[in-house]
């Protein structure tokens, strides 16, 4: 009886753990950021599905590799 009780508790824990793993992977996979350097010298970004710090780290990496805008103050007449 005692063994059966312990086995059922262990089984419940395993079910909860396995159910949580796909969700964690999913939320990580859904984190997406876009960024663009601005003419004022900063880099504007937006993230969706990210943790606060994860998003900021992703934005920092994105901005580090974003090219500086070359057309600030530019004007063209066609």
């Amino acid at each position: 009886m005692k063994v059966r009780f312990l086995v059922s508790i262990l089984f419940s824990i395993l079910v909860v753990v396995f159910a949580a793993i796909p969700n964690a992977t999913l939320s990580y996979a859904q984190c997406k950021c876009t960024c663009r350097s601005t003419c004022s010298g900063s880099c504007a970004y937006s993230c969706s599905g990210c943790g606060l710090v994860d998003g900021a780290e992703a934005a920092q990496r994105c901005c580090d590799s974003a090219p500086a805008p070359s057309n600030c103050g530019e004007e063209e007449i066609f």
Binding site: S46, G49, L52, F78
Partner: protein, 211 residues
């Protein structure tokens, strides 16, 4: 000259004159309407820029090396947002990206930081990364609204069919000026990451309302 011919010429001249007058009047009206439209847009922009600032909720850790002294936004109704930008929103009110005043409260020189405006419910963030700066200990730094918006090409076409395009910072008529994914009450602003001249980095600790 024959009287009938004279009459025909007079009628022709009158018709041509009438058409010219109508064409001139229509052109004048079109230009006047364009000018009025531009003036109305400028007036709208000015009215919003001059409207009262609203505070944006600030959340930060006790040990944050860059403290937010003030974060202020402009706010319009969802209907006005639609009129200004042409975009639809389900929100009753929409706020702009903020102007944020920061203070280096650390004992070190700051060389960069990351600001975030966040809706924790939808896990949506909009922000700015500032690098290649030097903010000394005790020094204040103001992040203007423009820092949250990338520039965009704007084109205008005149009556001759010439298209003039220029790179401009978005204003109230651009959706980039506004935060349309959540209302002001649901948002908070915080400093997430600070880098120092000595190479060290500070990161916010998530927990409680900060998430």
């Amino acid at each position: 000259m024959h009287i009938a011919t004279r009459r025909k010429l007079a009628i022709s001249a009158a018709v041509i004159g009438l058409f010219s007058a109508i064409t001139f009047a229509l052109e004048f009206r079109t230009k006047s309407q364009q000018l009025q439209s531009l003036l109305a847009r400028d007036k709208e922009s000015q009215q919003i820029e001059n409207s009262a600032d609203q505070p944006l909720r600030v959340l930060e850790n006790d040990d944050s090396p860059m403290r937010i002294l003030e974060a202020k936004v402009k706010e319009v109704s969802g209907t006005d947002f639609n009129k200004l930008t042409g975009q639809h929103t389900a929100l009753a009110t929409v706020c702009s990206v903020p102007q944020v005043q920061l203070l280096n409260s650390s004992g070190k020189v700051v060389t960069g930081f990351v600001l975030a405006i966040r809706d924790p419910t939808t896990k949506t963030t909009r922000g700015m990364v500032q690098s290649k700066i030097l903010i000394n200990q005790g020094e204040a730094y103001t992040v203007k609204r423009q820092a949250f918006m990338e520039s965009e090409w704007t084109s205008t076409i005149n009556n001759d069919g010439k298209i003039q395009s220029s790179v401009v910072t978005p204003n109230v008529h651009s959706e980039k000026y506004w935060i349309s994914f959540a209302s002001r009450a649901a948002l908070f602003v915080t400093v997430v990451r600070v880098s120092f001249q000595d190479g060290s980095v500070w990161r916010i600790k998530e927990g409680g309302d900060i998430q």
